[in-house]
């Protein structure tokens, strides 16, 4: 299998990371060598194996559905890149 530039562009779009031509070529090279290494898994037959989703073999604990934090608005907004006391601000979305 080989990952071509078109695939790189597609993944870059999905992951919201812009790549120029030069970077895309470098990434294609890197990803191809990594996937060549990953292909080793195909040596194994796994049809009858249950996938492992968590090593902790416990069921998730339930807790009561109660609010235990006070008003955190100020703390939450504090680190936002564009300052506004009430909202997160993003570039205009509606024309």
């Amino acid at each position: 299998m080989s990952i071509d530039l078109k695939t790189i562009k597609h993944i870059s779009k999905l992951s919201r990371i812009s790549v120029n031509e030069k970077k895309a070529e470098k990434l294609a090279g890197d990803l191809n060598s990594i996937f060549e290494f990953i292909e080793k898994l195909n040596e194994l037959k796994t049809e009858n194996v249950e996938p492992l989703t968590s090593v902790a073999e416990t069921t998730l604990k339930l807790r009561s559905d109660k609010v235990n934090s006070k008003n955190l608005r100020e703390q939450i907004i504090k680190n936002s890149p564009q300052e506004n006391e009430d909202y997160f601000v993003v570039p205009k979305v509606i024309e």
Binding site: R16, F37, I38, L41, E50, L72, N79, P81, K92
Partner: protein, 485 residues
């Protein structure tokens, strides 16, 4: 008292409790040495003056019943610390000041310790040499231009160089044990679920664990008992009976069964690693333990599995860095353009590479072939360990396939960098505890480590074996202070 920074954690605690040293004296000693050690680049952010103030306040009303009374320590910059910048080694978090504290660090401050500062690490803990950090390489105090390992490279460098008596790191595929091995110190990766992940910048959530790094096994045991706790805020935290690991530490390991997995004899492994392993086997025999040959047949599939599972989880975890809620933002013509530029400029090359791998293996049409396949192989790897633990109490292996390498030596070849974690990755995939202890030197005088892998939640047994071996090995780290002018 001279040479304060040369003392182990246990010695410092004793001297503070016996009132031979004050917290202020100890804190000032580590601050002074840290200030003289800037060349190592171990710190991303220091909090030295606040640390000295806290030490003075501690001395005014010392509570000597605490486990870490007035002990200064620096922590990996992956733990959120309230009101102290937390970067995860990334440009994208370069201005991030958490408004809350991680559970693990909170446990440490509750026992009387004092924050010295935040230690350098690979960006989002993705790396094996600390070279992916936005804040630059970290020097290994063993030798100039040598990597300290990664991702907890600032942590290993700082403990080995005695800039902090102990520290905490995180380990997703070997990020505590490999740097501990490269710098001649002890590093423990606890059982998955032992230490809360709350407030730790997430990399791969099914693999990430915090753990202690120290000069010796006893210090490591003490710090582990402080940080290990059940936490409602982490849904994968496990409620089990935790020991007072340091109190119950014993070098009596007579009759313990130690497994030697034949699959860890990898092609091209240097003879000195093979010899070190043999020496390790002799040490445990000397302690009265029994050696049993075992097989972990899927060992060779661990790294390929890891390089699907970890990037997949990372690509999902790192989706939160969008330039909106916190962190770095690049200007864009519209919302999508802003996202794409923010992530392209904010993340480094290795992080972008892993997000891309993760996105690909989770994308439509490839999920079954890669991600599901990897989860199935992960099950086989865990089954190997379950099978082995029917016959043995613990497993002994080398920590790494080589000693520390030079800065720049592996940066252009991601796969050769990944191969460094060949002995540590299976432990994370199976959720087991593992410890690296310094066990010897190679021909260049660089430290080499041995790894002991335990049963889940059996940290006590693991620490006991490490403690018994440490006594036999009698390792001395060769630190010359070359970086202090």
């Amino acid at each position: 008292m001279s040479d304060i920074t040369k003392q182990s954690l246990s010695e410092l605690i004793k001297n503070i409790k016996d009132k031979k040293l004050s917290s202020t004296e100890v804190t000032k000693a580590f601050v002074e040495r840290s200030e003289k050690s800037k060349e190592l680049n171990a710190y991303v952010t220091d909090d030295f003056s606040a640390a000295i103030d806290k030490a003075k306040r501690f001395d005014e009303k010392p509570n000597l019943d605490l486990k870490l009374p007035g002990i200064p320590m620096a922590v990996k910059d992956l733990f959120c610390t309230k009101n102290i910048k937390t970067t995860a080694g990334s440009k994208i978090l370069n201005n991030f000041i958490p408004t809350y504290e991680s559970t693990v660090t909170q446990n440490i401050w509750n026992e009387g310790a004092i924050l010295l500062g935040k230690l350098n690490c690979d960006e989002f803990a993705m790396g094996s040499s600390n070279e992916t950090s936005f804040f630059g390489n970290v020097q290994n105090p063993i030798d100039k231009d040598l990597v300290p390992g990664g991702s907890s490279g600032g942590s290993s460098s700082a403990v080995a160089a005695q800039l902090t008596p102990i520290t905490i790191g995180t380990d997703t595929g070997g990020s505590i044990r490999q740097p501990a091995s490269f710098t001649g110190i002890v590093g423990l990766k606890p059982t998955y679920g032992s230490c809360s992940r709350y407030g730790i910048v997430a990399f791969a959530s099914s693999l990430d664990q915090a753990g202690p790094m120290a000069q010796n096994v006893k210090d490591c045991a003490l710090l582990h008992e402080v940080i290990s706790s059940y936490d409602e805020k982490d849904s994968t935290s496990i409620d089990f009976k935790r020991n007072n690991y340091s109190n119950e530490l014993t070098n009596n390991i007579k009759g313990k069964k130690i497994g030697i997995p034949k699959e860890y004899r990898v092609d091209g492994m240097p003879k000195e690693i093979e010899d070190l392993w043999k020496k390790g086997i002799d040490y445990v025999k000397d302690c009265g333990a029994e050696i049993i040959d075992i097989s972990l047949p899927h060992t060779n599939y661990a790294l390929p599995t890891y390089y699907i599972v970890a990037p997949a989880e990372a690509s999902s975890n790192l989706a939160r860095y969008d330039g909106v809620k916190y962190g770095f933002r690049a200007d864009g013509e519209n919302l999508i353009d802003m996202y794409e530029k923010t992530r392209s400029e904010g993340f480094g090359a290795e992080v972008q590479r892993r997000i891309m791998i993760g996105t690909y293996v989770l994308s439509s049409g490839y999920y079954d072939a890669y991600y599901l396949k990897a989860q199935k192989v992960r099950k086989l790897i865990k089954n190997d360990f379950d099978e082995a633990y029917k016959k043995v109490d613990a497993i002994l292996t080398p920590s790494t396939p080589s000693s520390a390498f030079k800065i720049g030596e592996k940066t252009n070849d991601p796969v050769s960098m990944y191969l460094n974690d060949i002995f540590t990755v299976p432990v994370n995939l199976a959720g087991l505890p593992g410890i690296s202890i310094p066990a010897g030197h190679d021909v260049k005088g660089y430290p080499l480590g041995l790894q002991i892998i335990g049963k889940a939640f059996d940290e006590q047994n693991l620490l006991n074996i490490a403690f018994a071996m440490e006594e036999k090995i009698n390792f001395k780290n060769k630190i010359t202070d070359w970086w202090i002018k």
